[in-house]
């Protein structure tokens, strides 16, 4: 059956939810164990790649895979914000329920190219999900990369993702984590303000550095502006991962066209130089 | 085994739901066919819900609310009282027996009344037999084999010579007057844009947007000016699907628009719905003698006028700032039998024939939404029938979904449609949409004595029952 399944790119692999937990307001982390052949397909994928997750009976939607391949252990993490019909249905599922997973898709981050460089990871809200495998990769191969800066933002503290992993991130050598929220609450002890303000304050040096940003389009736009105009980064140094409400993931449905590029096959990871060269604004 | 119908009852929580309880406590017999759904008010049961219920396989729908005057929300049940008769007419027209929907009033203490209505309704539906509403087979095709039902002018083609339009010198004169008016408006910066008609390179008349006084020569007025340009207004002036964001209130955009009498009525509807303000629009009204059939798609200089024009007795715009043309010269008596051609023919068929007729028509629909997009009234930011998470209709391009869309749209236009016929003209598959919308207009006139857009007043569905209005 797995051969036949693999021959039809629209058919998902089956997966079983082995863990479902709240990680922020309306955001849950789903851990999926791949069944019948899916494990092989997801044996080796890159940080930044994505997969379609099916809520059977409602539909499927693309999500960035939020973990790195775990020595052949076929489980995938997805951090999913409840927004539309598919995500609402996924949020109603629990451990043991079946989902469909189709992928891995997209180009992913060129982690090999980043070796020996200082990395600045900038995540906004649920945009932190596809960045988690980047963080995990650096943590697992700490010697391969230079200084590691994580700027993590959300609208308010309850929307910050992976909070339980912050201590672990901070404990990694040569790694700094900065948090900021647009609106603080009474218990909040970290920074308050937009991510761009935080970025200006932290002011990473562009020398031998790469930035990786994921967040809403408007955030990507302004983060890049600060990086280029105030901090002297070149657009080529700034990697982003974009998204679109795509329906096939294999370059057919047309929904994710950014003019000359398709998010699903040419992306979702682009440098801002590539994004800047697009005819049509992603904004 | 005898047929046992599935009946869904929407019960108002304040009265009928308790009424059903009262019936139970009093050990009165109620049929087991009824599945209750408790709603906050009978006014909450929108016609979309009822149509969807039928689509999901219900054989009958019962809506019970508080007696008029006893509504927990004062007038919620007035809405139900106004909507349901129109919905029944629409469903009947589409081929569903109207007896499958019933609206009635049951108070909390009227257990006996509840039981009587429930039993009586169940008997009625049982007699009607199982519903054959949903087709459900993807890709199923339907073809109308019987005598064609004409919604076109050709139904009374013997009178064509009298009802033909030709390109005459009057059009050229009026074009010059129109251009002068537009030039003045733009030169004095009274408006940002004049929306009018131009003739494209293929000789087809089409909408034109003139922003600069030097471009006014593009404007024309001729026998082909069929588009209802008010469809662009709420997008240009308000916060419709085009602008999206709320405009600055201190510098509201202004536009001038060229309207025919029918189009002017749609401006009244839009004004009544607060899509934009009256002083945002400068209305250049044209006295109209009818528009040629095929206008917008070909460039013939003469031909029979459109069916709707042959049946039109509003020859002068009902609202305008400037009037061009002689309203006396365009006045014409309309024989009553010309007002609703095709509808009588359909009304005379049996429900199952009517259903087959409509299925054969919706069969061709490609769900391109041109009807909706061309309609001045259809301006929801996200259409109910196009939502990603829509519970009202599936995404499929099949007859069930297409029928749900068209009937739903027809219902949404009841009391608002002015009969400009843009939906039917825009339809690439030649669906006789006017047959539904004119029927709805006819029903609104019969039930409420209301004609859409004759004045800036809200349509009947959003007002409470007047003292003289009949209860169902």
């Amino acid at each position: 059956m797995s051969d036949k399944l693999a021959s039809n790119p629209m058919l998902p692999y089956l997966g079983k939810l082995v863990e479902v937990r709240d990680i922020a307001t309306e955001i849950k982390l789903f851990r999926v164990e791949m069944l019948n052949g899916g494990g092989e397909a997801f044996h080796d994928y890159k940080p930044g790649q994505f997969a379609f997750v099916s809520a059977f009976g409602v539909g499927e939607a693309p999500f960035g895979i939020a973990n790195i391949p775990n020595n052949g252990d076929p489980t995938l993490d997805f951090a999913i914000n409840r927004l539309g019909s598919v995500t609402t249905d996924l949020h109603e599922l629990g451990v043991g329920d079946m989902v469909g997973v189709r992928g891995p898709m997209g180009n992913g981050f060129p982690m090999d190219k980043f070796k020996g460089k200082n990395l600045v990871v900038i995540g906004g809200g649920i945009g932190g999900a596809p960045l988690r495998p980047v963080i995990q990769t650096v943590m697992a191969n700490r010697g391969d990369y230079g200084d590691f800066l994580i700027l993590w933002a959300a609208r308010n503290p309850s929307l910050l993702v992976f909070t339980d992993e912050y201590d672990q991130w901070r404990a990694t050598p040569n790694t700094e984590l900065y948090l900021t929220v647009d609106q603080a609450d009474s218990t909040w002890k970290e920074g308050v303000g937009l991510i761009t303000q935080l970025l200006e304050k932290v002011a990473p040096s562009p020398r031998n550095s790469i930035t990786i940003t994921c967040g809403p389009p408007i955030m990507i736009h302004f983060v890049n502006r600060v990086l280029v105009e105030k901090l002297n980064f070149k657009p080529e140094q700034n990697y982003v991962t974009l998204e679109a409400r795509m329906h096939c993931g294999i370059g057919k449905c047309g929904r994710c066209n950014l003019g000359t590029k398709l998010v699903c096959v040419d992306g979702p990871v682009f440098t801002m130089a590539e994004v800047g060269a697009l005819l049509e604004s992603f904004l | 085994m005898a047929f046992e119908p599935k009946i869904i009852a929407y019960l108002c929580t304040w009265c009928s739901y308790t009424g059903a309880d009262t019936a139970g406590i009093a050990r009165l017999k109620s049929p087991a066919n009824i599945r209750d759904i408790r709603v906050p008010c009978s006014g909450r049961v929108s016609p979309e819900i009822i149509m969807r219920t039928f689509e999901q396989g219900a054989d009958g729908v019962l809506v019970l609310g508080c007696h008029i005057g006893e509504c927990h929300y004062n007038t919620g049940n007035h809405r139900a009282a106004k909507r349901l008769p129109v919905l029944q007419a629409l469903l009947a027209y589409a081929g569903l027996e109207p007896e499958r929907v019933r609206l009635d009033w049951v108070s909390a203490s009227e257990g006996e009344r509840y039981s009587r209505i429930a039993n009586d309704f169940t008997d009625t539906v049982r007699t009607l037999g199982p519903i054959h509403w949903r087709v459900a087979e993807r890709g199923a095709h339907f073809v109308w084999e019987q005598e064609p039902i004409s919604h076109r002018y050709s139904a009374f083609s013997d009178e064509q010579p009298k009802h033909a339009v030709y390109h005459t010198a009057i059009y050229d004169e009026q074009t010059l007057i129109l251009q002068a008016a537009a030039r003045e408006l733009l030169t004095n910066k009274l408006v940002d844009c004049v929306i009018g008609f131009e003739v494209g390179p293929r000789g087809r008349t089409r909408p034109a947007f003139i922003h600069q006084p030097e471009n006014v020569e593009r404007l024309v007025w001729n026998q082909d000016c069929t588009h209802n340009l008010s469809a662009y207004l709420s997008k240009k002036l308000g916060w419709g699907t085009d602008g999206g964001k709320k405009k600055q209130p201190d510098k509201l955009p202004k536009a001038a628009v060229v309207v025919k009498p029918c189009d002017s009525r749609s401006i009244n509807v839009l004004l009544a719905e607060n899509r934009f303000q009256r002083d945002q629009v400068y209305i250049i009204g044209m006295a109209c003698d009818g528009i040629r059939q095929g206008a917008g798609f070909s460039n013939d200089k003469s031909g029979p006028i459109q069916t709707r024009c042959a049946a039109c007795n509003v020859r002068t715009p009902v609202v305008y700032d400037t009037l061009i043309g002689d309203s006396e010269a365009t006045y014409r008596e309309i024989p009553p039998e010309h007002i609703y051609p095709g509808i009588d023919h359909l009304d005379a068929l049996t429900p199952i024939e009517r259903m087959n007729f409509w299925l054969s028509q919706f069969d061709r629909c490609i769900r391109c939404y041109a009807c909706r997009q061309a309609c001045p009234m259809c301006d929801c930011p996200i259409c109910l029938y196009e939502r990603d998470d829509s519970l009202w209709v599936g995404m499929g391009i099949d007859v069930d979904e297409k029928r749900a869309f068209h009937l739903g749209r027809a219902y949404h236009l009841a009391g608002r449609c002015v009969g400009c016929n843009e939906c039917e003209r825009a339809c690439p598959m030649d669906l006789p949409l006017s047959l539904i919308h004119r029927k709805m207009a006819q029903e609104m006139e019969t039930i409420f004595g209301y004609r859409a857009g004759m004045a800036v007043v809200p349509p009947p569905f959003v007002t409470i029952l007047g003292g003289e209005e009949n209860l169902p």
Partner: protein, 333 residues
Amino acid sequence: MNYLTHQELAAWLDHLAQEQTLIAPLNIAGNILYRPVKDTHEVVWDFTRSFMSVKDVFFPPTERLMLIEKLNGQVKLTETLPEGESIIFGVRPCDARGLLTLDALFIENEPVDPYYARRRENTTLIGLACPSVGASCFCTNVGGAPDDPTGMDIMLTASNGGYVAEIITEKGEKISKKFPVFDGLSEIRPHPTHARKRELRVPPKEAWPARFNDDFWAEMAERCLSCRICAYVCPSCRCFDVRDEALPGGNGQNQAERIRCWDSCNGIPYRKVAGGHNPRFMKNQRLRNRFFCKFYYFPLHYGPVSCTGCGRCIDACPVNVDITEVLIYMGRR
């Protein structure tokens, strides 16, 4: 070459219709549409162009991708690939060209779309050269011709009261043997259809980017209604949307189908992202995307220009948005 009389052609088609599905142009309430037929006497033999293209047969408006069954916490997926062979009679050259365009996307661009590919494989195209060129046709300007046999399995050209038949592919060869009317002995050669050539040039894809920010697009789009006619009547538009829908009857809770349906870049929600942001919110952006897709993005990604010059969008547009006006504008320097 073969020469068939009208009766021979009809007899052959009737014979074929007994063995497999025959799809042919019918007149349905005044509209020429390709529909399955039982025999040939409903078929419309003489027409300029059908309302909808043959795209519908290969890429149907609604298509079930799979059946989803949920039972006791388990999920069973059943792939629903299209079954059965069919023959389409009366395919116009512009539509065949449209299929070649779609082939570039669905088949030649990996991975292969199995639904489309299966239908292509199982369908034989019998082309019928256009007797004349319609008022809005411009196939000759995009590289086609009214009697172009490209993409057909058998090409018919009306001639001397009958048809000259050219067998082009093996698939065509196979169905030609089903009934003895093809003798290959005819000396008659088809006359080329007279096609006047418009002064219309499709600019190469390199010419497009420089015009992206022109005011022209906003001016043109001002009257656009943002409906989807142009995409749906187009023989080479292919955007789609995928969703699951519960199946009715009995256990609607447990059975669903995953369907894909046509979609159009003119629709407002088309380019929305998950957070609700819509980069193509304005209709001029959407209409511009349509033309750029046809002549720039599609050739860039998949090779061919995604316009076959059939002119359907010109005739169907209720507000006369005209693709040839775009080409004329682009041709101006």
